[in-house]
Symmetry: D2
């Protein structure tokens, strides 16, 4: 059976990445592409790299007949997403890629995003989309909230360590290096090539990045007590990739063992041999996440390094993985392509 798919927000980078992935998917067909600001254009006009595909013209969201849609991806900006989803059919399966339904506590949402939540009922039913840890709930869900790309990276590295009880919960530092596509296609001065190329910097320093809301929620839930990490993202001159360097206290071999055990049968998470560290260049364009563990020279301390592609495993690949589960398709379908290197 072929499922009929709609993508809202098709003119952004995560929208394009969804199209790239779904175009090769044997069990899905793209039936509708929503992009209000570019309605009426063909995909070749918005994304010339997709010009070889036969796809519907971009339309406004209200032009889409959702009765014919089996599953809808929402790749809209946060805040817009909750408003749109509130108006969609209540039985439509939805994978939301925005930040709108990630935080279960409306107060936490308001704290991190600055506005009251406008679709609290839907927030209640939303399942957090970190596939490897919410697989059953996602399979049964109507609405899945895709995780932040940074939040996914850090959780892949740290969740199993909390569960296994092998690290000090009060001494977790995540120093993260993100490529520029994570900031989307928005027109901001600091995203210009002339600003970014040959330069890099820390931003949201001191614990102000919104993905901390997800870390706090998830790590605390896993630990059964409040866990607050330190998290500093950096913007580096590359298009795709997240590399997170985690500084933790615990036995490095036990840490490696906990990760290896947790991901032993996971198709997309590769735990490297002890002592090796990953690189973004080796996951680019793929749905894989590589994790390495190295013992520090200081006893009782370890470095955990994780790498993934923010647009794929960190966003649109994760979304497709979740959609596969929701539709009863083999989870890995359309997602096993090798990374693009060089």
């Amino acid at each position: 059976m072929t499922y009929s798919i709609a993508i809202l927000g098709a003119s952004g980078y995560t929208g394009a990445e969804l199209i790239r992935l779904i175009a090769d998917h044997p069990d899905m067909t793209i039936t509708a592409l929503g992009a209000n600001s570019k309605a009426g254009l063909s995909i070749a006009q918005v994304f010339p790299h997709l010009r070889h595909l036969t796809l519907p013209t971009l339309v406004t969201i209200d032009q889409i007949d959702f009765a014919k849609i089996d599953l809808c991806f929402c790749a809209l900006p946060h805040k817009t997403s909750q408003e749109v989803i509130a108006k969609l059919p209540q039985d439509l399966k939805i994978v939301d890629l925005s930040a709108d339904f990630r935080l279960r506590d409306p107060a936490a949402y308001e704290q991190w995003y600055g506005n009251p939540h406008a679709a609290i009922d839907h927030q209640a039913e939303a399942v957090y989309g970190l596939t490897e840890f919410y697989r059953d709930e996602i399979t049964a869900a109507r609405l899945v909230a895709g995780t932040g790309c940074n939040a996914a990276t850090g959780q892949f590295m740290v969740r199993p360590l909390i569960t296994a009880g092998v690290i000090d919960l009060d001494e977790i530092i995540l120093d993260l290096k993100c490529a520029v596509s994570g900031a989307g296609r928005s027109l901001k001065e600091n995203l210009l090539h002339a600003e970014l190329s040959e330069g890099y910097h820390a931003y949201a320093v001191g614990g102000t990045h919104r993905h901390l809301g997800e870390f706090d929620q998830e790590f605390s839930a896993v630990a059964g007590r409040p866990v607050k990490v330190q998290f500093t993202p950096h913007l580096v001159p590359a298009n795709r990739g997240i590399l997170a360097t985690g500084y933790v206290k615990g036995d490095a071999q036990a840490i490696h063992a906990a990760l290896a055990a947790c991901y032993a049968s996971e198709p997309f998470i590769e735990v490297l041999p002890f002592g090796e560290a990953p690189s973004t260049r080796h996951v680019r364009g793929s749905n894989f996440c590589h994790i390495g563990v190295v013992a520090d020279r200081l006893p009782g301390r370890a470095i955990v390094v994780g790498a993934l592609d923010n647009l794929t495993k960190g966003s649109s690949g994760q979304a497709l993985q979740n959609a596969n589960l929701m539709l009863g398709i083999q989870e890995t379908t359309g997602l096993m392509m090798a990374p693009l290197f060089p």
Copy 2:
């Protein structure tokens, strides 16, 4: 049926690209990976981005049992390739990615490559691997010589114009901009990031680039008279991509019509609407070639611009396309993935 594939030269960039493509191919299995200098290593050690794949350990070429191989890709340096191929079984289907069997005239080979040819018998049976123009010969061939990546780009742009008789054959200029992976993984000072990033330059200026041997051979054959083009390659700070800007004399509309007609049913060659020009970012990682035609403000002159990925359509993608034909597989199998953007 699943065909058994060997790749010689598996530790270079075109070797890695072959593995990336064939890993997803439904009708091929990689049975042997040859890489003399890295024999004994796993693919994960040589190319960590392929670590998720179950692949044979790298071996020396003489460790491979070619009796079990249906088709062998040779991604070896030129000169080495002819020596290796001369010793392989004489009935083994081979797609060679080196320069060794591209030039039918041994004297031309010696002129451009500086050494006498060591496998002239095989050169005689080799078919030039520009799929769209040698499809029947390739289907029947035992040994196919993959084209130069620059040579492929220029031919896609110019061959139909010669055939259609719409341009002045004595006034063809190809100004080509190539990304760095075209130079391979060799350790040369001018390929260092610190040398190349933020800098670009022309090289082999004045008609000394070896791919001119292919242009001369092919354009003259098509025209039925000697055709010699001007060709200046440039190295730009990017990893993948060739963009060639062709300056020709003729009617721009007729030129566009000739290209559109020639490629109307080709799955991988996209002729853009008249007046549009392509970009390397829109073909990266794919087997597509985009071609655009624009009329110059000077009457009777036109600009033809072609773009492709040097590692895919310019090399390993082309090789797989040819292998599909040689094995009786649907030509596009394993090659329809969308480009990676951004």
Copy 3:
């Protein structure tokens, strides 16, 4: 004596480059920085790389007391520039970096820029700012119109060849590769890092780039008859640099000799030994222009390649060179710094 300098448009890239250069200038002091949209900010807020300098706060243009200014640089957008300059004191020395006063013929201005000229009187008195060819006029000028960065590059390569009569005037092709800072600091989708990095393309193909207005004006004036070149600019993923590849018909040795003779005593134009071609990496951040000549394999054809930094020799460095002349300062003062490599 120290001259008092104002810079209008101080928050753009050419403004920042002027500040960088003048900060080290022994005979100039920056007295006023105009930037209407960022008035009230310090230079450290707008350009943190200049934070070590003691500079005036940015102000609106009408807050500047021009009576105290010896020379004013206008680094404003075209069209705005002519409106601002029309209102400045009529005896104020001005170096304009915009396109507004480059074209002597108001009809040509309107043709290329799409609007009637609003300060035709000033256009009449403006001197074209290509220093090496208008040195005497610039020394005596009140208003100098900085050239286009592409236009400067092409003219350095071709003007001496027209003067010397060594090339066919009807067969000149300039294929130019420009780095992104040439497009300024404006917020456009195609200037985003995620769009541009790892991708490159031709733009304004077919003779529609505005700098052709300058080529037409200047080459025709030098030749004493209409000369129209073909010109295709390309945008490459680098921040600074222009590399232009010129295809001309003539004797390569004569062409090299004409260039060498023309620039023998020029401090900033380096003609490379015959057969060598320049690179943008070797002029970055400097006021130098490197030019090379290579004979093509086709008799009677030559390739001329020029390289300069679009922000320095192509814009702000040229502007300072002109200002030095206008103020009676040694022409090279503040401009002899070596390029930054790597």
Copy 4:
């Protein structure tokens, strides 16, 4: 008075950077350029970006008449440097840029570099070249050992905090991101553009980077007790720059105050306003170091971020600063140029 300068190792990146800086220096003249492997070549052949300079031809070291040299920069590989310096005149002023004389304890040298020291006498007289903290000793020194570029960055951030007693000495983490020119011009696969561009990774993870020898020596000396930090360097796709993110425990305001007080009168160290973080793009090509402090959301923790150009303040700029002191020249001479942005 003009001092006569020799540069040994003139064909590497730090050698080129020394030439760039000294070419503009009013009190120094380059008299000899040593580069054994490229002896006989002109500087234009080795570094075309310096072709406008009138400089001596490269020679072997034993061709240099050191009697005429006032000060010699050694920009040679470590181990080679100690062998060469042992043979130079014993009264020659030397600034060594290698790692050979940084570690005062020969056992520590052997531990980190793997070979016994071959010039222990000279090691005894060498002064550690971190100008801002060894100014008096450097002024009086004959032999100054330039610091590691990473080591300089970390020390600028942390030394004043140890002195002021405002941080926990057992909880210092330095996560450092280095551009590729720090690895020099050597031919290694991981320095190729095709490997590095669009990819980044951690290396020497777990406390194995040699610059830890300097951190251990210096931080322990300042503290008067052993201090061992955690240090993870990362290689990012840029040519110049070091950005170090320091995680420390202490009061953020006190930390900022300690840094501000320490560097209040330093010409090259800029402490940003509290709460701001620096960027490599704002120090590129300059001798400035920018340091910012931000309070973490977790009480009692702070993030200190430092940025400098590895080739300038991290290496050749520091060397010139030290040479100025050793020759009695104003310390800032030739070093006040603004950074190059964009």
